[in-house]
């Protein structure tokens, strides 16, 4: 693909779009249109979305987002509203947290508005054309693990949404920066000093949040669907011994269903899609105490399967 990326815009052009008709860029199959007067948003986008394709200005955007101060009260408190479709569904936020909120809001749009895919709450990484789905409860370490894998040559398909084409085992890539919280920020910086991070937002409801540029593979923005082969439930525990153990399909089904954004909305067809999906997978629990351990376990998973 030779389409223009965000990196082709200099700072002046970037502000002109953001403060004017909106910056339109692609994330996997979706197009975002974003308006914002905030320097921190411009800085974060330039750093983390440099390789994302730009979309036509006169085309169709799936999601229209903007940051806007609503009146005097926002202005006096240094707050700003995050708008979706020109509506303000959320309370005002401090400007310093705007970047974390943008990333959160971009996820929110995907989670609640479209249902053409079965959407699971999971990170997705791939190597040699084989995708591994990493669901996880908050704190289980899925983001830290996928960040580390992205920095060691794996392709990151998604940080938050495993998007499954109904009735298949094909996943739709949705490459976005990886959201890192609190200790994970330093951990990843130490793991790979050259890692590119966006602005750090302090004191959000999740603590400190920063994002890692993770579209590092040459095919990061390729739109082709990838077959999923493994469902791995990571669980990080400081000092734990590595354990990669097979997990039951029914149990995995249940977990994935409970952590899906739209399994319930899709009704019986959601059940059918999940059944087909789980049948095509090998499921594992991965308990680990260090990123390096988990990395080597993930490599062995691929090699065990393909004998490379």
């Amino acid at each position: 693909m030779t389409s223009q990326t965000l990196a082709s815009l200099d700072d002046t052009e970037l502000s002109r779009y953001l403060e004017g008709s909106g910056l339109r860029f692609c994330v996997g199959p979706y197009t975002y249109a974003l308006r914002s007067p905030l320097p921190i948003i411009r800085y974060g986008l330039a750093r983390l979305y440099a390789d994302h394709p730009l979309a036509a200005n006169d085309g169709f955007a799936d999601f229209h987002l903007s940051f806007r101060a609503n009146g005097l009260l926002d202005f006096l408190r240094g707050h700003i509203h995050f708008q979706v479709d020109e509506q303000s569904p959320f309370a005002a936020i401090p400007k310093a947290q705007a970047y974390a909120f943008l990333e959160w809001g971009m996820n929110w749009c995907v989670s609640v508005t479209l249902h053409e895919y079965l959407k699971l709450h999971a990170a997705v990484v791939a190597k040699n054309g084989v995708a591994v789905v990493l669901p996880g409860l908050p704190g289980a370490g899925k983001s830290t693990l996928s960040a580390a894998l992205a920095l060691r040559g794996w392709r990151l398909l998604s940080d938050e949404h495993a998007m499954l084409e109904p009735g298949s085992n094909k996943l739709v890539p949705l490459p976005r920066p990886v959201s890192l919280k609190n200790d994970s920020i330093e951990l990843i910086q130490a793991f790979e000093p050259s890692a590119i991070m966006g602005p750090v937002s302090e004191d959000t409801h999740k603590g400190s949040v920063a994002h890692l540029k993770a579209d590092l593979a040459s095919d990061s923005h390729d739109l082709a669907r990838l077959p999923a082969r493994f469902l791995v439930f990571p669980r990080y525990q400081a000092g734990a011994k590595l354990r990669l153990s097979p997990k039951g399909r029914a149990e995995s089904f249940m977990f994935a269903a409970h952590h899906s954004f739209n399994y319930s909305l899709l009704g019986e067809s959601g059940f059918d899609s999940m059944s087909r999906f789980i049948d095509n997978l090998e499921c594992f629990d991965l308990h680990y105490g260090s990123i390096d351990q988990a990395h080597s376990a993930m490599e062995s998973l691929l090699h065990g399967r393909y004998g490379a």
Binding site: G248, R249, A250, E251, F253, M254, A257, H258, Y263, S264, G267, E268, F271, M274, S275, I278, D279
Partner: protein, 90 residues
């Protein structure tokens, strides 16, 4: 009185011969993870509604998982399935 057990509504099974299976209730949209021990009971009730005695006979005649079940165990299982609104008694 001759009371029969039935499923509370149409259901789907995701069973891969493990220690547990997934039971999906079409009407409510609820998904349950159930122990394999109740699988033959629900399969039997999915075919048709049955009384406790009929159910016990059916399970004992099969050579599967439910063949060794006692009446006491069966009643207990039916009661807990009933409490979870999976089966009901007419």
């Amino acid at each position: 009185m001759f009371r029969v057990w039935r499923l509370t509504g149409p259901a789907r099974f995701y069973d891969r011969s493990e220690s547990a299976f997934v039971y999906y209730q079409v009407d409510s949209g609820d998904t349950h993870l159930l122990s394999e021990t109740v699988f033959p009971i629900l399969k039997a009730l999915a075919e048709k509604q049955r009384s406790t005695t009929e159910l016990l006979d059916h399970l004992c005649q099969s050579d599967g998982l439910g063949s060794g079940v006692t009446e006491e165990q069966l009643v207990q299982q039916l009661q807990s399935l009933s409490a979870a609104a999976i089966v009901t008694q007419d």
